[in-house]
């Protein structure tokens, strides 16, 4: 049975009678227990893809088309009450900013309990015990004390752990984490990524990890989806993508990351910047910045083609 299959997902917004498609025809698939990394720069549509899977896009006025098959259900056609029972229980979401996603006037422990009791029939006492257990599992020091604190009393790393606890405590099948470590220091980022690695593998939870940091992806993922300006440009197994990327954008993205021991002058940049959602060029959306541009690229949108092994690429070069 399919675990998660996204087919031809598009999101359209209408602004002043002008239509904008920040996500256009994205398709990918996830197996149970797999870790998929979605990478791309600002405005590539990573977060919107995640929000569409969570069924949150209509709330901000987006028109979603395509299909999102989760188990035997299509998340885009089920009723909103059915979606409500899946959201938080079977699919959990860890939002981008731990600083603003916790309610400032409730104790953090109670916020974890609320998530449990929304989806499971459980006494307050049992829910509290479960909360303390998960806090301990996530290496939160002195859980009983932290349980009683308010978000502003906690450091960024601890707040992020609480948000992760809320996501994990209902034992979801799929966890979607949207830039979970962007706001954190490197040493804390390493701690959090280690937690993700330990907990998703141990409980066989599938993880959809959204990030702009290719280093983070390399440490934890099985597969990578590279997005650019609302399109999926390359998708496949992590070793192929990092070892032998086909798409010029993936190649360029890897070459712009400074690494230890890199010789000065070896860093390459991509000219220009990611276009705004309202002003995407015709044809391949990357053609304005691509070094291998052909005339075909300006008019025709490339489709995903299967190239070497486990890798799909959308580029006219191949």
């Amino acid at each position: 049975m399919t675990f998660l299959k996204v087919t031809d997902l598009s999101v359209e917004f209408t602004n002043n009678k002008k239509s904008v498609t920040p996500i256009n025809g994205v398709s990918f698939e996830m197996k149970a227990g797999e870790v998929l990394g979605v990478v791309g720069e600002t405005g590539s549509g990573k977060s919107l893809t995640a929000q569409s899977i969570m069924g949150l896009t209509p709330l901000v006025g987006g028109q979603v088309s395509g299909s999102i098959q989760f188990g035997d259900k299509d998340l885009l056609t089920i009723s909103s009450s059915e979606m409500q029972s899946i959201r938080g229980a079977e699919i959990s979401y860890i939002p981008q900013n731990p600083m603003t996603s916790l309610d400032p006037v409730f104790r953090v422990g109670d916020q974890i309990v609320e998530g449990i009791r929304t989806h499971q029939k459980m006494s307050k006492k049992d829910a509290k015990q479960l909360t303390l257990d998960i806090m301990e599992e996530l290496h939160i020091p002195s859980p009983r004390q932290v349980y009683m604190q308010y978000p502003h009393q906690l450091s960024g790393g601890l707040k992020q752990r609480i948000v992760i606890a809320i996501g994990l405590v209902t034992n979801p099948k799929l966890l979607i984490a949207d830039e979970p470590t962007t706001a954190l220091d490197v040493t804390v980022q390493a701690q959090i990524m280690r937690l993700f690695k330990e907990h998703t593998v141990a409980k066989n939870i599938s993880l959809l990890l959204i990030t702009h940091d290719l280093g983070v992806v390399a440490q934890v993922c099985d597969k990578v989806a590279v997005m650019y300006a609302g399109n999926l440009v390359e998708y496949g197994d992590i070793n192929s993508i990092f070892g032998k990327p086909n798409h010029p954008y993936t190649q360029a993205l890897i070459a712009c990351i400074p690494t230890m021991g890199m010789i000065k002058g070896d860093l390459s940049a991509i000219n220009g910047s990611v276009p705004n959602a309202g002003s995407y060029p015709e044809g391949c959306r990357f053609h304005t910045r691509c070094p291998y541009i052909k005339s075909q690229c300006k008019t025709e949108v490339p489709s995903m083609k299967s190239l070497s092994g486990e890798i799909l690429t959308a580029c006219h070069l191949y």
């Binding site: 400074p258 230890m260 991509i270």
Partner: protein, 327 residues
């Protein structure tokens, strides 16, 4: 090689006030007894986690905040002794590029007007024609077209704004530039553009940079020497190529271990430095890193280590460095 900036025993502490009457309830030592020098023509990097005092240090060097004690010499002049007027004259030679390009430019001014401001205030280049050609030249130098001069900041992308801000900093041909996380708000592809641009400008205009960042791999790529800070103290000063090969301080080693490379590595566990940066409020005596260090011994809790020379170049403040530095 001569030194453009020399910093001696520089400290600054901020009072923390609390309670009903906002009485002083303690103080935070943001920068603690820091000494180093910047050689003419080099790129000196400062790395550390948030709250380690790197931005405070940058502002101190330009005397944007007053230190509690210590000395700063710029081109041999003690800038802490300068009067307001003399300081303004010196500021032409030392400029700063800020972290957030979105809030640094006046939203009601065009880029041209923002740049023109510098010439007006300093009373140089009087004719409008000359100013126009100088500003267009500046914009071209940072890979913007003269047309961008007519844009307002909100019409520019993040990378363009950061380049406009670099043009602003370079307008008066300074010798020394402090770059405070100039790429932290940018995408990697744009970060690479800005880094390449800075490198070109440095060669073209014989600049010296103090480059502040939390990204150790970026710093080790771009800088010649690196200062590693933790809670207001210098832990280690080392040549950039020693960061990966021979870090002497356990904290530098922990930072290098936490750089995620782009080599797929799903199977192996991620090495972790436990704990978080403690609050800088009323620190215990001894080494500030002692609470997180895995090499900690009893001496570390009693006595703060001083910076000692490393034979291969650099200095380290640790009682038990990872490599022998006795020779």
């Amino acid at each position: 090689m001569d030194n453009i900036v020399e910093v001696d025993n520089l400290s600054v502490s901020f009072d923390v006030r609390g309670g009903l009457l906002l009485r002083k309830i303690g103080s935070v030592q943001a920068v603690n007894n820091v000494s180093f020098s910047i050689r003419r023509g080099e790129v000196l990097g400062v790395v550390g986690e948030s709250g380690c005092g790197k931005s405070t240090l940058a502002r101190l060097i330009l005397r944007l905040i007053e230190p509690s004690s210590g000395k700063i010499r710029f081109n041999g002049n003690d800038i802490l002794k300068l009067s307001k007027n003399e300081l303004r004259k010196q500021r032409r030679h030392m400029q700063m590029v800020f972290q957030d390009p979105f809030s640094v430019m006046d939203p009601l001014y065009t880029v041209f007007r923002s740049l023109n401001e510098a010439f007006k205030i300093n009373g140089i280049i009087h004719t409008p024609e000359e100013r126009l050609s100088t500003i267009n030249g500046l914009l071209e130098m940072v890979n913007l077209s003269p047309l961008h001069g007519h844009s307002y900041p909100h019409q520019l992308s993040g990378g363009q704004k950061q380049r406009a801000d670099i043009a602003r900093a370079l307008a008066l041909s300074p010798e020394f530039l402090v770059l405070d996380e100039p790429t932290a708000a940018l995408d990697v592809s744009v970060q690479a553009q800005v880094i390449k641009l800075l490198d070109e400008l440095k060669e073209k205009m014989n600049l010296t940079f103090l480059f502040i960042s939390h990204d150790l791999s970026l710093v080790s790529y771009f800088c010649d020497r690196i200062i590693v800070m933790y809670l207001g103290n210098i832990m280690e000063i080392l040549p950039a190529d020693a960061v990966s090969k021979k870090p002497c301080h356990p904290y530098t080693k922990a930072l290098t271990d936490n750089i995620f490379s782009t080599i797929p590595n799903k199977e192996n566990s991620i090495p972790v430095l436990e704990g978080e940066v403690p609050t800088p409020f009323n620190l215990p005596p001894g080494c500030v890193f002692a609470s997180r260090c895995n090499k900690v011994k009893s001496l570390c809790h009693e006595e703060a280590p001083l910076l000692r020379d490393v034979p291969e170049g650099g200095q380290v403040a640790c009682h038990y460095p990872l490599f022998d530095i006795s020779s």
